[in-house]
């Protein structure tokens, strides 16, 4: 299920893809740049690791290559040697690494269309709540490990500016990410932007300040990480029980790199901020609920995408406990107006992939439990009364835009 229907069926307008904004272009370029720096850094470090492995003989008595690979794998995956050397470091490290793994899997939903991975998509959908809670372990583990490193000075892993910057970013990025969850970012638009990056068909980025901060910090992290010792692959040579050559010169090499590229890096990283500061960000306030009931086709078509859970959740409590406005303002009204008809002209239920709510929620990998209890189809006869209503021009344009993105 790849496509989704945002607007009620009506006269189809020509697909109107809005022009790219400067902020979108800046963030797209920044993301490509940061990704390139990260990949390049990893490639260089892998090459250096392989060179060391080839150059130095294995320790005598360290067993076969398979056994060494297995032990190294256990070390990398389960942090085995840390477990036996420093228990607290292992606890925080495991929290951070497994939290990060869950978070990364959760974020796959932004970069993958359901149709690309087939049944694996259901795994990503299923993983979402795990990723949500794993994301809490991530900054906690990172912050505690960072504190232990700096305050207790257990080891000298975190030393220079790049290391501290990486740790600060690892703590800050999840926190900003959670904050953007609370501010109800339009995840559908975020996904459109991310898919645009993956497929090289750029789409405008939603200008939610917290989202922009989140993405910008991630880009900074990707650029800084290769300069930090925290992503140094050379120690992995030790895991394979290979006497690696002294890496004392490494620090000097890194500092030369930083001095050479530092100013340019800072300029590139600050560019999106300058553009954002120049154009400003429109903070979209929550609209009044009463006007929403009357007509939610406001000037901001993403308003309902961002806020419909809040409206539904506050409304449901009021309606359930006091009964106010039960028939007209209920979910019955939502599913009636937004009904999608099948080939036979009948409104489809939630069991149909083209159901209005299901398509979008599946695309965004957001679970929806409403229709475990609620009826997902309009009551017989209700649709006929609504068919006479004029169609929303904004809804039709929005639908065309979404279809163009797919």
């Amino acid at each position: 299920m790849d496509d989704f229907d945002l607007a009620t069926p009506g006269p189809s307008a020509a697909p109107a893809v809005p022009p790219l904004t400067d902020i979108s272009i800046a963030f797209a370029l920044l993301t490509y740049f940061a990704f390139a720096v990260l990949v390049l850094g990893l490639v260089i470090q892998t090459w250096r690791l392989l060179r060391e492995i080839r150059r130095t003989p294995a320790d005598p008595g360290s067993g076969s290559i398979l056994g060494r690979l297995f032990r190294a794998g256990a070390d990398v995956v389960l942090l085995r040697s840390v477990f036996f050397s420093d228990r607290w470091a292992w606890i925080f490290g495991a929290m951070f690494h497994f939290g990060l793994l869950l978070v990364l899997i959760r974020h796959l939903r932004y970069f993958i269309r359901p149709g690309w991975v087939g049944p694996l998509w259901d795994v990503i959908v299923l993983e979402q709540p795990f990723g949500f809670y794993g994301g809490m372990a991530l900054p906690f583990g990172a912050a505690c490990w960072w504190l232990r490193q700096t305050v207790l000075r257990k080891s000298r892993i975190v030393t220079d500016w790049a290391d501290h910057a990486v740790m600060a970013l690892l703590v800050a990025i999840p926190l900003v990410g959670y904050a953007s969850t609370i501010s109800h970012t339009d995840v559908v638009a975020v996904k459109a932007f991310a898919i645009g990056l993956v497929t090289f068909h750029w789409i405008n980025i939603p200008t939610d300040p917290l989202l922009l901060t989140h993405l910008w910090l991630v880009a900074v992290l990707m650029v800084v990480l290769p300069f930090s010792r925290l992503l140094l692959l050379l120690p992995f040579g030790n895991l394979l029980h290979i006497e690696s050559a002294p890496i004392a010169s490494d620090a000097k090499r890194r500092s030369r790199l930083v001095y050479a590229f530092g100013p340019a890096l800072i300029l590139v990283l600050l560019a999106p901020l300058a553009i954002v500061g120049h154009h400003g960000i429109v903070h979209q306030d929550r609209p009044d609920f009463a006007s929403l009931i009357a007509d939610h086709r406001t000037d901001d078509p993403t308003m309902m995408i961002r806020n419909h859970p809040a409206f539904l959740f506050s409304h449901r409590t009021i309606v359930t406990h006091t009964g106010v406005g039960a028939p007209i303002d209920s979910m019955e009204r939502c599913v009636t107006c937004h009904a999608v008809k099948n080939a036979a002209g009948q409104p489809v239920g939630f069991d149909d992939p083209s159901h209005f709510c299901r398509g979008c929620h599946n695309t965004a990998a957001v679970t929806i439990d409403c229709f475990e209890c609620h009826q997902s189809k309009p009551a017989p006869g209700a649709q006929a009364a609504l068919d006479s209503l004029p169609r929303s021009a904004i809804g039709t344009a929005l639908k065309a835009e979404r279809v163009a993105e797919q």
């Binding site: 917290l210 903070h283 609920f289 959740f313 039960a326 019955e332 209890c373 609620h374 309009p378 009551a379």
Partner: protein, 242 residues
């Protein structure tokens, strides 16, 4: 609208951070202020008076109407099939007199199901109707055990084709809602309507607290009883002739 300006002042004072973190709560509060207090007025207490002398053992119009109203269908397993209203037949062993009466949620003012609910899902509306907020029901079934009238059901199987006005789902407790969607719209419950249509006219729906209502006058004039009155649950469903 005054609430809009109030909300605006609130939002301005709280700043951007607060608007991110507190906005759902503000929306909820502003919404609650707007809510008209029509059905929730404390003076109303909806009740049903059932004249068992007019209720015949062979008639099940009320049960059928309830099943139709909420699309309560059988899964072929009577022990777990949904049943919001049931007909009881009582035979006096000494005289042989047969009494038939429908029993549904009695909408007690001191409802045991509300007392035992650990999440607050089982609640009583200000107008006396006892409901389950299925959004927060965890399906623990305490209310089913606590109800002296056996009125609460547990939804054991997946539900399909719910009525738009009657959300039902597997894993939650449910019971007669006194057709709250009809009552709020100014109509009478489906069972009462069906009973009148059947010609027996054994059921009377109205506001027990309104002295001018027919039900209040009948209750004041003729003797009526609450089932298990000794439990002092004070049901809103009363019976004549038992």
């Amino acid at each position: 609208m005054s609430s809009t300006s109030r909300r605006g002042i609130l939002a301005a004072a709280a700043g951007i951070f607060a608007s991110f973190t507190l906005a759902p709560g503000i929306t909820l509060r502003a919404f609650a202020e707007q809510a008209p207090a029509v059905p929730g007025a404390r003076t109303v207490r909806w009740g049903i008076l059932i004249d068992t002398t007019r209720c015949t053992p062979e008639c099940d119009a009320c049960v059928t109407a309830c099943n139709t109203e909420f699309n309560l269908t059988s899964n072929g397993r009577p022990r777990t099939d949904p049943q919001w209203i049931r007909k009881l037949t009582i035979t006096d062993q000494a005289s042989g007199h047969v009494t038939s009466l429908p029993v549904m949620c009695q909408h007690c003012s001191e409802a045991p199901c509300v007392d035992v609910c650990p999440t607050g899902a089982s609640f009583q509306r200000p107008d006396g109707i006892v409901l389950v907020d299925k959004h927060i029901c965890i399906g623990c079934r305490y209310c089913i055990m606590a109800c002296p009238y056996g009125a609460r059901n547990f939804v054991s199987e997946l539900v399909d084709n719910q009525r738009p006005w009657g959300p039902r789902g597997k894993g939650t407790a449910e019971a007669c809602t006194m057709c709250v969607h009809r009552v709020d719209a100014g109509r009478t419950p489906a069972c009462v309507e069906a009973c009148a249509a059947s010609g027996n006219k054994a059921m009377l729906f109205g506001d027990l607290n309104d002295p001018d209502s027919e039900i209040a006058k009948r209750v004041a004039t003729f003797p009526s009883a609450q089932i298990r009155a000794d439990l002092r649950t004070n049901p809103a469903v009363r019976y004549e002739g038992i």
